[in-house]
């Protein structure tokens, strides 16, 4: 007779995730039953309402913590809730970009260049499926940094990845490129997932457990076969490093960033980073902390290579989306220093950095959606010259985001970089500090080059122009810009809040 234990679930704590999942399902129902022309508005409303509700329910349970809310498979604690809140806020800001349907293909199933596609464009169809897909991805992201069980972690990983693969292929212009990007992302994502699963298997072999606590206990006990632990850590890291886009697992990101619809890129670049780094911080801080002498040197090497590579290659980019992709690779390197630091200030700094970087990224890609010619977005940097003369506000906002990426004082990026490098230095990684500051200096060069291009070069007369931003895009850009500068000028309240809240439950 098998004893079946009824699962006990703490619904109040799980509510933020469940609300998003429910919202996504309602979205699917709307797709199935609502008349076509009312879908766009209702989907936008449902999505926003879901996210706001989820955020509200998260705020309601703030301060609570529990490891037993879902049968030990997730852990609710300060750090997890901060990461969840960051993901939700970034998602809310990014959803406004989705509302600008100019970005998406009219009918995802139509072959590029086919008659069907032309008809769908003429009929002015809209793929409103993007909303439920986004919500599914958000649900996965909310679960990802909370998971304390390798199986749950894997489910969350797939849950957040699969909708993103689809979303990446929905671009309205240059559809072949977009679909290729989606397929590429999917194939490589599957490949990385395989590594991840193999890591899970090895860790199970090592500790006879799939929970973080069990692995932690085995590491402390030191009873298992160290080779399994080593392989487990390495393979799990490959899966996670792929998601954050660290060198040498970065190759997908420039292609996917470029190919995906810009609104999707914005959401993906910002929110995925928060979720993936959240999960990475948790597993390394909770399970592998005592084995740090084994993984730390390798991770330091990866962080250094990632920073330098991302910064240097970004210099040579002529496409704004690819440039931002390489910049995000460099930022992945900076963020890895928070994982390597393995101390409280490293955790605090990482959370601050993730939020600040995420918001600035959404804003920057929001600006990219505005620069267009008759054939769609213009991402060739040469054609951005003189933008500041024609659209000073848009160019100024973009400059602000770039300055934040560069880590110039009075922007959130400066505070983030400062605290994360300090934390790494505190933990003894001088190499990280020096390389980090050096590659930030290199990176500043190409960010500033774009600013120079926009403000100091003459406009080219080739039909490139900034469209009048829709109210939705305006909200995204203004909110992102305000947050970016506010966190640069007066970050203390948020930093204090993170310091008093952020911690991982074991």
């Amino acid at each position: 007779m098998i004893n079946f234990v009824t699962p006990t679930l703490d619904y109040a704590l799980l509510a933020p995730i469940l609300i998003v999942l429910a919202g996504a399902l309602v979205g699917v129902l709307v797709e199935a039953f609502a008349p076509r022309n009312s879908r766009a508005a209702s989907q936008l409303f449902i999505t926003l309402a879901t996210l706001v509700l989820s955020l509200a329910s998260l705020i309601r349970v703030r301060g609570k913590s529990s490891t037993a809310a879902a049968m030990d498979s997730v852990s609710f604690d300060g750090a997890g809730m901060l990461l969840q809140a960051s993901i939700l806020i970034i998602a809310i800001i990014a959803v406004f970009l989705l509302a600008d349907q100019e970005n998406f293909t009219a009918l995802a199933a139509a072959l590029p260049g086919s008659d069907e596609e032309r008809t769908s464009l003429q009929q002015d169809l809209k793929v409103t499926e993007v909303y439920p897909l986004t919500l599914f991805a958000v649900a996965g992201m909310l679960l990802f940094p909370l998971a304390t069980d390798l199986i749950t972690l894997f489910v969350a990983l797939e849950m957040l990845s699969l909708p993103l693969y689809l979303l990446a292929g929905l671009s309205r212009r240059r559809r072949l490129m977009s679909q290729e990007a989606a397929l590429k992302y999917f194939l490589l994502g599957a490949f990385a997932s395989a590594f991840f699963l193999m890591g899970v298997a090895y860790l199970y072999g090592y500790s006879a457990s799939t929970t973080f606590a069990g692995i932690h206990a085995a590491v402390i006990g030191g009873a298992g076969n160290d080779i399994y632990l080593l392989l487990g850590i390495a393979f799990i890291s490959v899966g996670l490093l792929f998601k954050v886009g660290a060198v040498p697992f970065h190759a997908w990101s420039p292609d996917v960033y470029q190919g995906a619809p810009t609104a999707v890129t914005a959401f993906m670049a910002a929110a995925t980073k928060v979720a993936a780094f959240g999960a990475m911080l948790r597993i390394f801080y909770v399970s592998f902390a005592e084995a740090l002498w084994q993984w730390r040197p390798a991770l330091i090497a990866i962080a250094l290579v990632t920073m330098v590579f991302g910064s240097l290659v970004a210099i040579a980019q002529r496409d704004v989306k690819r440039m931002l992709a390489y910049s995000s690779i460099a930022h992945a390197g900076f963020l890895l220093s928070g994982v390597i630091a393995l101390n409280k200030s490293g955790l605090d700094a990482s959370i601050f950095y993730l939020f600040a970087y995420g918001v600035a990224t959404v804003g920057a890609f929001g600006v990219v959606t505005l620069v267009r010619d008759s054939a769609g977005e213009v991402t060739d940097l040469n054609r951005w010259s003189g933008l500041g003369k024609r659209s000073p506000w848009v160019a100024t906002a973009f400059s602000g985001f770039l300055l934040a990426f560069a880590g110039i004082p009075l922007t959130s990026g400066f505070i983030g970089k400062f605290s994360i490098f300090s934390a790494a230095y505190e933990s003894g990684s001088t190499a990280i500090l020096i390389t980090g500051v050096l590659s930030s200096a290199i990176a500043a060069f190409f960010y500033i080059r774009v600013i120079v291009l926009m403000f100091f070069k003459d406009p080219v007369e080739d039909g490139t122009s900034v469209v009048i931003p829709s109210i939705y895009t305006q909200i995204t850009i203004i909110v992102s810009a305000v947050v970016t500068f506010a966190l640069g000028i007066y970050p203390t309240p948020l930093i204090n809040f993170i310091q008093s809240t952020a911690s991982f439950l074991r």
Partner: protein, 629 residues
Amino acid sequence: MVTNNGLVYLIALPLFGALSLLLLGRRADKWGHLLATALSASSFAVGLLQLSQMLGRATENRPVTQKLFSWISVGSFKVDASLLLDQLSICFVLLITGVGTLIHIYSISYMSHDHDRRRFFAYLNLFIAAMLLLVLGDSYLNLYVGWEGVGLASYLLIGFWNQKPAYATASKKAFVMNRIGDMGLSFAIMIAFASLGTVSFTGVKEHAHHASEATMTAIGIMLLVAAVGKSAQFPLQAWLGDAMAGPTPVSALIHAATMVTAGVYLIVRSNFVFDAAPTAQLLVVIVGAITLMFGALVGTAKDDIKKALAASTMSQIGYMILGAGLGPAGYAFAIMHLLTHGFFKAGMFLGAGSVMHGMNDEVNMRRYGALRKFMPITFITFGFGYLAIIGVPPFAGFYSKDMLIETAFNSGGTKAILLGSTALLGAAITAFYMTRVMILTFTSTKRWDDNQHPHESPILMWLPMAILAIGSVTSGFLLSRGSALKNWLEPLFESHGEHEELLSPMVVSSLALLMVALGVAIAVMKYQLSDVDAVAPQDVSIFTRIARRDLLQDDINEALFMRPGQVLTAALVKVDESVVDGAVRGIGQMAISSGSTLRRTQTGFVRSYAMLILVGAAVLIAAIWVVTQ
């Protein structure tokens, strides 16, 4: 320390001007320049008020602070956004706002034909605000904000006439070189935080005695790198000459009187660091000595009037850095030379602008000549500046430079003789090239075409020049009378007792005047008494050629940094784009040529990406393995 809530107005007034002019846009075109000038002047008035209050307080109560808000508080690390006004910063506040206001007035007329004059004034106000923040910050981090701010303003102003590509390039060069300096500053801040746990001036000062000398040396060297970048000192001097592309008032304000002296401020402000780190201090002196000769030598070969003045600025700041590196004995004199230099160099730059204004923007001195008759006021004001810079008594430069040379001679050891002689030789060369500028421009025979109609500039332009000329005459005497400035600044520095006296003041003064006379005499023989070609002669010695090319600074930069950097970047891009997918792209090319779609190439890309992941994973495992063993 005494709290004073008025300090913020010093910065807020010009900042308000900058923001409102930028935000209002074309609507402010009619009156924007007047608002900007008025705000700069009111900031100056606030500065004067502060000075009078400060004079009324006892010495130990003179510094005042104002806490604006708590900026960063990460764990034990707290930085308030606070301002500090003490005897040192008040000197800078008055220099920045005073000279700044004069240059605002001058620019009203100078830029009157530019349709973007409002934007220009907005940037000028922005610069004033940032520079004030730099000198008023009470911690290295607050200083850093101002430091980046003046960099930005300088960059915007150099590139103001950015329709010309050369100008845009110049502003870029200035930016890159400044970034190297900025990196030094951020390193210094991080080292200070990591090892001392504080970044405020008072905090670092308290720890300076207990910290190891190695730490202080590291901080000191990084601060020196910062100063070298911002103040165009050797080896990061190359940007200053190119920065002359900006409008002339900008050169006068930013690249002569204020921003480029920020390095001197940083070193003097960090006196406690350098006093505890003799190695770093020695480096400061060496940098100063090299630059003062470097600038002077470049100055002898320049035909462009602004570039000649820029070389001279570099050289004069070299004097200040030298003084600042001589420790407590030199700090006050470095600041004194900085102040007098602010007057005479700004005046001469405005004079150069006035000449260009009357000569259709011609900058080549070989096409000037005999302008004395056509621009008498410019001639006289420029002439006062000239007498001040070469150090003729009783003009300002005589007092300040003389003190620096004297301090160098009396700094002890063989070092003293070397430094003193360098400073003395520099004075001779300065006299030579400045006399050359003076002769070529004003007194030699006419060498311009007949379609030029040189004329005197309007009153709004010559009035600031006249006021600065008065400063060039009197400031040295006023500041050194009864060691006024030295006593004023004394409480900020820890004196180490007097050094032995190698040469008496009288001897030094006589020697200096002798050298100056020598330099002037050679220049007069070479340029006044013989004919000058309107086109620069090409059959000149190798030394002249090297000097004309700024002692090969660009060639060296290019060979040492630019090319390897470009090669490295290109190589990395190649690795990413061709080597990694090289084989695949080959197949892809075949696929395209055989009529297939791009798709197959893309499949290939995925394969190569996957390969990369696989190899990466293998390397990762190997690395962890090696570490574990």
